[in-house]
């Protein structure tokens, strides 16, 4: 009867590689294709408050998509706000993230303009943001 023998260094390297791959995918996690498509189609946009909103006609799919992502964002904002030194409030962290998320929109995507509060299509020019934004 033969027994499987593991080479210690090989085993360690394999486990290490698996762990690294796990971290790699977590850090490089990209947008869900449905979300990516909705953003590019201008069906969802970045709001001033740090959450996503539905632009135009609402559908059950869009509501589910946006609702799901906003719940995740809120949980993340809450956690990060508490960890900040000194701790910040959820609203403070969310508003700051909103500033940055609007800045990161690419041409063609929708965002909520500061001066009009209306959905606006991002152009190559700088977005219309809150004057407090960094």
């Amino acid at each position: 009867m033969t027994r499987l023998k593991f080479h210690r260094p090989v085993l360690a390297a394999t486990l290490g590689a698996i762990a690294l791959a796990g971290i790699g995918t977590a850090a490089l996690a990209q947008r869900d294709p449905a979300y990516d498509a909705a953003r590019r189609a201008g069906q969802v946009g970045e709001q001033i408050d740090g959450y996503l909103g539905i632009v135009g006609a609402e559908t059950p799919e869009l509501r589910r998509l946006v609702g799901d992502l906003n719940i995740k964002r809120r949980a993340l904002y809450t956690e990060k706000a508490q960890q900040a030194t000194p701790p910040a409030t959820l609203e403070e962290y969310a508003l700051t993230s909103g500033c940055l998320a609007i800045e990161r929109t690419t041409a063609g995507e929708m965002y909520q303009a500061y001066s009009t509060k209306a959905w606006t299509r991002r152009t190559a020019a700088a977005p219309d943001r809150d004057p407090r934004c960094p």
């Binding site: 990209q30 995740k72 993340l76 508003l95 700051t96």
Partner: protein, 81 residues
């Protein structure tokens, strides 16, 4: 056996007819109330959603302090941003 009685007994419950002026006044008030009633239910909800500005008291200083951290958070969670 002695009966004990109060020196002055309370008046029994009774009703006094309303004065004419009071009756007119009461009637007027009732009519005014009835006319005012439909006015109470004509308040319509605004068509647009009411947006409560909770961000008004957040200072620029706080936003600047959190910006670097928020930038990292967005990059580390690119799937939801």
């Amino acid at each position: 056996m002695m009966h004990v009685k109060l020196t002055s007994r309370a008046d029994p419950a009774h009703s006094v007819p309303m004065l004419r002026t009071k009756r007119v006044l009461a009637g007027a008030m009732l009519m005014a109330g009835l006319f005012a009633l439909p006015g109470c239910i004509t308040v319509n909800a605004p068509e647009d959603a009411i947006v409560i500005e909770l961000n008004i008291n957040i200072t620029q200083e706080v936003i600047y302090r959190l910006a670097a951290d928020a930038e990292d958070t967005i990059e580390e969670n690119a799937d939801i941003f």
